[in-house]
Each structure stands twice: as C-alpha cells, then as structure tokens.
C-alpha cells in the first residue's frame, strides 16, 4: 500500500532522515517511534509532500508521490493530523471538517458565486457524510462552535475528524494523544482501533505513549538520529536490544 524506499532528507548538513525505508500493508496500523529529533515528523512531511526528500522514493499503491505537490497528494488519499494542531480557529467545527472534503467537491468554483441548486446539493451531500463522522467521534454538541473556544482534548478529535472527512486511504497520525489526559488517551486509542476495524483505513501513528503503541500497532518502526534501527511486531520491538538502548536509555522496561 505505502512503501517508503530508502529516503534521505537533509537540511544543509543536518541529516533529518538517512536511508529510511518502511512498508505498510493495506489496513495496517504501523507505529513509528523514536526519541525527540529522530526524524518521525520529517518522515510524515516527506510522505505528505511538505518536504521533498533528496534521495529515495515514496510510493502509494505503486504511484510515486514525489512528483505531486502537497494538495495533489491530499487528493490521492493521504490525510494527516498535525502534531501541534493546525485547525482554523475562526471556523466552526463543521466548517473545519467540510474543508477536509474540499478535494471531493466537483462543483466548479464559479458556481459557488451563485450557490445555486447544484452547489447546495453537493454541500448537503458532504454535510451528511460529515455528520456520520461527527457521530462517530461524538462531536455533536460542538458542531457549530468556532474551534478557537474549544478545549484541547476536543480539538484533537476535531482534527482527527477533519482528516477522516478527506476520505483517506492512508491516515498519518502525528502524536494524536500528546497533551491528553489518560481518559482522553483511552478514547483516542478506541477511535484509532475503530478506524482500523470499521473503516479499514491504513494508519501510520507517531506516538510517545509507549503503552498505547505496543497495544495498538501491528508493526513498529523505530527511528533514531534519522536512521531506522528496528522494524517488527510489538513483541520483537520490546525485546530488541538496539531499541532498548536508544529509546529507553539502556534499561529494561
């Protein structure tokens, strides 16, 4: 489904990624872990087209993503949740999520000037789909509130909802549980499992909450200083000496 082949990304001397390869099968939940500055978010930026890796290739269903710009990659079915929220504060929850379906709109832009029957019908179609997501994420009571006034835990859910509104094939989750309390983290874990089991969307998850990663992921890739130091099932990773060395500071958990 997704194959990242030997990509390298450097910023004038600093090697953010150095020959990293990962593979994700369709329906997989792949976790990427590693200490701060290991290159996890850079990896996401390369997949979603924010950065261009100098070497290597990123393929989604055999199609190289490097030839496309960020907005085209989004319409190919790659959705992303940002580490530090990138919601639009002045828009309502609903509008933020409708913006996620932007690439699905078929009405030409000038028809929006009149906002006639066809444009309205399409708007309502998307609204119905968004309402399913709102239902799935239990956001009903916040639907019409501007995002700027909502608490952080809700915002994380809104951003997940916006990513789902893009009807993605591949969902990139950049620390979905960062800053959440344990109850909210549990909810988030539940949503991620539901997305996997009910919607069958392939997910790549960056997370520091190791219990969550070890419980949820099918496979785990471990990055350290831009290199992939391990790849395998949670059980294999748990026992891998290189991972223990890099991630847990040489101590057994």
């Amino acid at each position: 489904m997704l194959s990242v082949q030997d990509i390298s990304l450097s910023f004038s001397g600093v090697k953010a990624l150095d020959g990293v390869s990962i593979e994700a099968e369709s329906g997989d939940l792949l976790a990427v872990i590693g200490p701060n500055g290991a290159g996890k978010t850079s990896l996401f930026n390369c997949i979603s087209g924010v950065y261009q890796p100098q070497k290597g290739d990123v393929r989604l269903e055999g199609d190289s993503l490097l030839q496309y710009s960020a907005h085209d990659i989004a319409s190919k079915g790659v959705a992303r949740m940002f580490q530090n929220l990138a919601l639009f504060d002045q828009m309502t929850v609903l509008d933020n999520m409708l913006l996620g379906s932007h690439h699905l709109y078929k009405t030409p832009w000038w028809k929006n000037l009149m906002f006639g029957k066809a444009a309205r019908r399409e708007e309502i179609e998307h609204r119905e789909r968004i309402e399913d997501i709102i239902d799935f994420l239990h956001l009903e009571q916040y639907r019409k509130m501007p995002v700027g006034i909502l608490p952080y835990g809700i915002l994380k859910r809104v951003e997940l909802g916006r990513a789902l509104a893009m009807q993605p094939k591949l969902l990139l989750l950049d620390e979905p549980a960062a800053g959440l309390n344990s109850e909210e983290t549990e909810d988030m874990a539940r949503y991620i499992l539901d997305i996997k089991e009910e919607l069958g969307i392939t997910q790549i998850l960056i997370e520091h909450e190791l219990h969550m990663v070890l419980d949820l992921a099918d496979h785990i890739a471990v990055l350290d200083f831009g290199k992939r130091i391990a790849f395998g099932s949670p059980d294999e990773i748990r026992k891998d000496p290189a991972v223990i060395e890099a991630y847990l500071g040489g101590e057994e958990e």
Binding site: H71, F88, M91, L98, L99, H103, T107, W109, L113, F115
Partner: protein, 358 residues
C-alpha cells in the same frame, strides 16, 4: 415554547434568511431602500450612490484581503482600470453602460490575473509594496496614453443607454412626475451593491470561501488538506479586481468626468483598507457596514464639526471630517477591534439571550 424555529434539515441550515425575524429584517431593509430616494434630498441620494460604489469596492477588497489574506495597497489601480475602461469605451465606441460595467470588471480582472502570479511568491508587507508599485504603474500607463485617456486633463465619461445617442443622465418623465439622474443611478447602483453583497456572502459560506480562509490562516495546513493555495489566491485576485473594476465604472459614471490622480491614488487604496477594518475583517457584513460607515461619516462630520468649538474655528470642513474620522477609527481600534461587526454581534447576542444578561 421554542424560542426559535427548529432546524430539521441540512437544507434549512444553508438558508440566508432562516426564520421569521430574518425575513422581517430583509423586508424592512428593502422597504427602506425603496423609500429612501423618495424622501431624501438630492445630496443624500448622491451620498447613497457613492456608498453603493464603496460597498462594491470594499467587497472586492474584502475578498482579497479579508477572506484570502492578501494585503493589497493597489486597490485603487483596479478601480482606475475599470473607470478608464468605461470612459474610453464610451468615448470611442459609444458602448452602453450596461455592457460597459461588466467589461470594466473583466478588464480589471485581467490586470488582476496578470499580477496574480507575482503575488503568489510574495506575502505580507512585500505583497503590499508590489501592489503599490502596480498603482504607480497603472497611473503611468494611463498618463502615457494621453490621446485616448485625456492624460492629466482628464476625460468625460458618457453614459450611453444603447438606444442611439441617448444618454442615461436625461431624467425619466412619467407625466408630471420626474426621476432625475441621481435617482436613476440610485436604482441601478443599489441593485449592483445588493448583488455584490449576495455574491460575497455566497463565497463566504461555500467551499470557495472556506478554502480562501484556510489559505489566509495557515497555507501549509490548507495545502495538506487538499486546497491548492496558488489557485485559491489567483481566484481571489481575479474576483477582487472584478468587483474593483465595476466599482471604478460606477464611480466614473457618477462623476461623469474623471482624472487619474486624484482620485485613483494611494489615498483611495488606504480608504478602502480603512473601510474593511472599520467594518470588521473577514465578513461580508464588515465590507458593507464599513463602506456605509465610511462614506456617511464625512457628510455627518461636516454637519457635526460646525458645532465643535475648537475644530470649527481653525479647520476647513474637509479637515474637520478627517480629524473626526481619525478619532472614530482610533476609538474603534482600541475599544472594538472587530469593528462594526463586533457591535452587531453584541446586539445579536443581547437579543438572543434576552431577558437574561448572557
């Protein structure tokens, strides 16, 4: 008893005038617009025409700056293009006004499209500087084609109706009742202004407006969400300059004789920015309210300024209105940064919570 009508379909959520009170407001506003020219003096009808022109121009700037976040100090250049398009087309080819206005819009939109690609590479202050450059460039081009634009001495703007040599400034006569030029213009201009506000509202509430606001607030996130920032900015430029061109044409037809600068100078650009700031950035309401507030404030200041002791003795009436306007803008920036929109929201909140305080 429900305090307001329940929303039972998504269709209903898209309505501009969803319940009875909105409809009452709409009818009251339309009635006011119809009755106004019958009771107002010629001076105030002329002010209303200028207001309608400002509304169309301010909506243009609101689309570009308020929705899409591209700061432009060259708005007057697009108005100049529109104004000179109708002037030249009228003089050379006797093009009627109802054809001249959309052509003026399109001519300005073409200029907007031409500078769009440059604007894509710049943001913030740099874009502001480039748009000032555009303003000087347009003025220079208009000056150098003096034989068709009249150069520094200006040009008359004939308003042909398309029926032979007839022009629009002859009054309509119905028996002994007569509709003079400014009232005829009023009917046309108010229709255009209402239409422009409707289009702007449609942009704001549709996918196009959401994309623009996304580009304004966080263009990287917008791109990752599938919004093409370059395309969105160019659409905003084209739409904005179209409205500016139409506003320029309206201005030219009303003045009947135009020169290049003044009025189409940096001062006009800044005035349009003042309008959208005064009204409240980012909404159609802000553009309309700001344009009305701005245009009506000078004649009001003239009548008020006379009674302010220090001002009336030392300053001319134009200076008085400038000073009063400056004071009003400063007060707004300090006490109501959302502009007239903030006022409106507070009033709305008061009535929806009534009889409770909040």
């Amino acid at each position: 008893m429900p305090t307001k009508k329940l929303v039972t379909s998504y269709e209903q959520d898209l309505k501009l005038f969803p319940d009875m009170w909105h409809k009452v407001g709409l009818i009251a506003a339309l009635a006011f617009l119809l009755v106004f020219p019958m009771v107002a003096s010629a001076k105030w009808v002329t002010i209303a025409n200028l207001t309608a022109t400002s509304i169309v121009g301010a909506i243009g700037l609101m689309i570009l700056t308020g929705f899409a976040g591209q700061i432009s100090l060259g708005h007057a250049a697009f108005l100049a293009v529109g104004a000179y398009t109708v002037a030249v087309l009228g003089n050379e080819f006797q093009v009627p006004w109802w054809l001249g206005m959309p052509l003026a819009g399109m001519a300005a939109a073409l200029v907007g499209l031409a500078i769009g690609p440059f604007a894509l590479r710049l943001r913030g202050l740099y874009l502001a500087i480039v748009t000032i450059g555009l303003l000087f460039l347009v003025a220079h081009v208009l000056h150098s084609f003096g034989d068709i634009t009249g150069g520094v001495s200006g040009i008359a703007v004939p308003m042909y109706t398309g029926l032979g040599d007839a022009t629009f400034d002859a009054p309509w006569e119905f028996g002994d009742y007569e509709i003079p030029f400014e009232k005829k213009l009023y009917l046309v201009y108010v229709t255009i202004a209402v239409g422009a506000a409707l289009v702007s509202k449609n942009i704001q509430r549709s996918d196009l407006g959401r994309a623009m606001i996304a580009v304004r607030d966080h263009d990287l996130a917008a791109a990752v969400l599938g919004v093409n920032p370059a395309r969105t900015k160019i659409i905003a430029f084209a739409l904005s300059s179209f409205f500016a061109g139409v506003a320029g044409a309206m201005f030219a037809y009303q003045q009947q004789y135009i020169t290049i600068e003044p009025p189409f100078d940096l001062n006009m650009s800044v005035q349009y920015i003042a309008m959208i700031v005064l009204g409240g950035i980012g909404t159609t309401f802000g553009a309309v309210a700001g344009a009305i507030g701005f245009t009506v404030i000078s004649p009001l200041a003239e009548s008020v300024g006379r009674h302010i002791p220090f001002l009336s003795e030392n300053l001319t009436s134009a200076q008085q209105s400038t000073v009063l306007f400056a004071v009003v803008v400063c007060l707004f920036l300090i006490y109501e940064p959302l502009g007239l929109l903030g006022f409106w929201l507070r009033i709305k909140r008061y009535f929806s919570a009534w009889p409770f305080k909040y």
